[in-house]
């Protein structure tokens, strides 16, 4: 396996944590996304919005090479991270995912204890520290995901034995424990009640101080409330490929969209 560690010394001149340039993504012969170019600013929340099937998840998965796991999926173009194209042949996808973490639509804690859920990432990443240091790391990750106070007394409890909102925050904590730079979230609140949803949104604002966040959502209010920048995708009616209609600061997209399709979409007239 060719290994190329991502250079930790890289000092970012770019204001972008991640930048997508001319990306096309295929599932076998079907081009699901075309001509995609946009940047995700550091320590900001970037929301990907658009109707279902327009390729938001596909683009999100291309940002940490999770699409590699789908047979037949292929990405063309560049995804730049720390000055390197993640799709260069000598980049190691496993290594990429250690720096660019992911939280999924459906909370998917491992059928292990809460503690072991958090410890899993560091352990597979060659954790060498002591038990006390791991305890500390687990606490830090759980505090980071604002879950510590709720579960600190039963860290031995199964990760599946807590509520759906808590499970999703456990998954966020688990992603934090490997100390990524970027966190990708694919509709993390779509299965949650409004209160849990608000908790996660507040959490995202906290996390923004230390991480760059990219979130897919089909919830317009959520994008408007909880993001700094917004990218709006729409499917090309001719070839059914998703493409970017407009992207910019969330305020601008929601208050004075340049494209009339954006306006129609955010005002709920189609989608």
């Amino acid at each position: 396996m060719a290994m190329k560690a991502i250079d930790p010394q890289y000092t970012a001149d770019s204001k972008y944590a991640l930048e997508v340039r001319n990306v096309d993504i295929y599932y076998s012969a079907f081009r699901a996304v075309k001509n995609c170019s946009f940047g995700m600013e550091r320590n900001k929340i970037t929301a990907l919005i658009g109707p279902s099937g327009c390729g938001k998840s596909t683009v999100l998965r291309s940002l940490n090479r999770m699409n590699d796991l789908i047979a037949g999926a292929r990405t063309e173009g560049e995804v730049l991270y720390r000055g390197q194209n993640l799709y260069d042949p000598d980049i190691d996808a496993v290594q990429v995912r250690r720096s660019i973490g992911m939280v999924f639509q459906k909370a998917n804690p491992f059928p292990k204890s809460i503690y072991d859920n958090i410890a899993y990432g560091p352990r597979v990443n060659g954790w060498k520290g002591s038990k006390a240091e791991m305890d500390e790391l687990v606490e830090r990750a759980l505090r980071g995901a604002v879950l510590w106070d709720e579960v600190k007394d039963d860290l031995k409890k199964s990760g599946l034995a807590i509520s759906g909102g808590q499970q999703q925050r456990l998954c966020i904590a688990r992603a934090l424990a490997v100390e990524p730079e970027v966190i990708l979230m694919d509709e993390p609140c779509s299965a949650l009640d409004p209160i849990s949803t608000l908790k996660i949104e507040e959490l995202m604002f906290e996390l923004r101080q230390r991480y760059s966040i990219v979130i897919v959502t089909h919830n317009m209010q959520q994008a408007a409330r909880a993001s700094d920048n917004t990218v709006f995708f729409l499917m090309d009616k001719e070839d059914r490929a998703g493409q970017i209609v407009e992207y910019g600061p969330t305020e601008q997209i929601f208050q004075s969209p340049k494209d009339e399709r954006t306006e129609q979409y955010i005002s709920g007239r189609f989608g």
């Binding site: 992911m102 999924f104 491992f110 899993y120 990432g121 597979v124 599946l160």
Partner: protein, 321 residues
């Protein structure tokens, strides 16, 4: 059914909101349905009656065996000599060789079967898997007598070549155990593959998304999540090994002796039953009754294993809810 619904097509009636349709909702007899139900019900009970019948026959003949003066229950379970000719009826040598064959078989089959299962569930492409699974299932369909000959004419000479002819006897437990292991590998492979494939793909994605490799994901997430299913598969394979007759009858020999040396001949419970019932034993002799007692012990051993595996599978369900 359509003709039972009568629609009043007069639009004025519809507008007036009067009852426009008359639908026949009365109960009607469905004879075919009842007959089918009865037949299926009966089929379900046949298996229960068969089991009861087997236990009855085994129990009755065993009772005769233990009722005779020649053997007591204690002696049956503690004596290490099985020599019906001289009136020694200790089941331990037979149980011991059965367990030895089973353990050797499991030592072969669990790693091999699990490796196959992991390969099929986690690594193989859809096409390779679609080809491999039927092939492995086909292996399970080879008559066991073929496996027996394979043990005797291929594995035994090979063992004797490696360890020496004076160490490895022509008939030996090791050869039988290895081949029974090959025979039960498909069971472990296919059942474990089912268990691994049933693990939600979200768990794999979570693990890979944290920067784990495929192998780490398979070993640290998928296999533990499917653990109970794998244990259940191993137990099914274990009962199969305990009950396997042809291979041991052909390859392990016909001398019930109490030994832990796998290179010596020995006779398992099933092998002994096959040999004795194949011979010209007269009914109602103590020898004849003795094989029913062995059969009863065998029955309870596999029954226990089945119960244990059900308990494990049930616990597995609880964990996932």
């Amino acid at each position: 059914m359509a003709d039972q619904i009568r629609v009043n097509s007069d639009p004025r009636a519809a507008l007036a909101g009067a009852s426009v349709k008359q639908i026949d909702l009365r109960k009607r007899p469905r004879i075919g349905e009842t007959i089918i139900q009865t037949i299926l019900y009966a089929c379900g009970f046949i298996s229960i009656f068969t089991t009861i019948g087997i236990v009855y026959v085994l129990g009755q003949e065993s009772l005769r065996f233990f009722a005779s003066d020649e053997v007591s229950l204690v002696e049956f379970f503690t004596n290490t000599v099985w020599q019906p000719v001289i009136g020694e009826f200790g089941i331990l040598p037979l149980v011991n060789s059965t367990m030895m064959v089973t353990i050797i078989a499991l030592l072969v089959a669990i790693p091999l079967g699990l490796a196959m299962a992991i390969y099929m569930a986690e690594y193989a492409s859809e096409r390779v898997r679609a080809f491999l699974k039927p092939v492995i299932e086909l292996l399970a369909g080879i008559p066991t007598v073929v496996y027996g000959f394979f043990a005797l004419t291929f594995v035994t000479p090979w063992l004797r070549e490696i360890f020496g002819r004076d160490v490895v006897q022509i008939y030996n437990v090791m050869s039988a155990g290895l081949v029974v292991g090959i025979l039960i590998t498909p069971i472990i492979a296919t059942l474990s593959e089912d268990a691994l494939s049933a693990v939600p793909s979200g768990l794999r994605q979570a693990s890979l998304g944290l920067g784990a490799t495929k192998w780490e994901t398979a070993i640290r997430v998928v296999v533990p999540a499917a653990f109970s299913g794998i244990v259940a598969a191993s137990i099914v394979a274990m009962s199969r090994a305990i009950g396997e007759t042809m291979v041991v009858a052909l390859a392990a020999g016909a001398s019930p002796q109490f030994t832990f040396n796998p290179f010596l001949p020995a006779e398992t419970m099933t092998g002994h039953i096959a040999r004795i019932s194949g011979g010209d034993l007269s009914y109602q002799t103590i020898d004849y009754n003795s094989i029913f007692a062995i059969g009863l012990v065998l029955f309870f051993m596999t029954l226990t294993l089945n119960i244990v595996s059900r308990m494990i599978v049930r616990r597995f369900r609880e964990v996932y809810e």
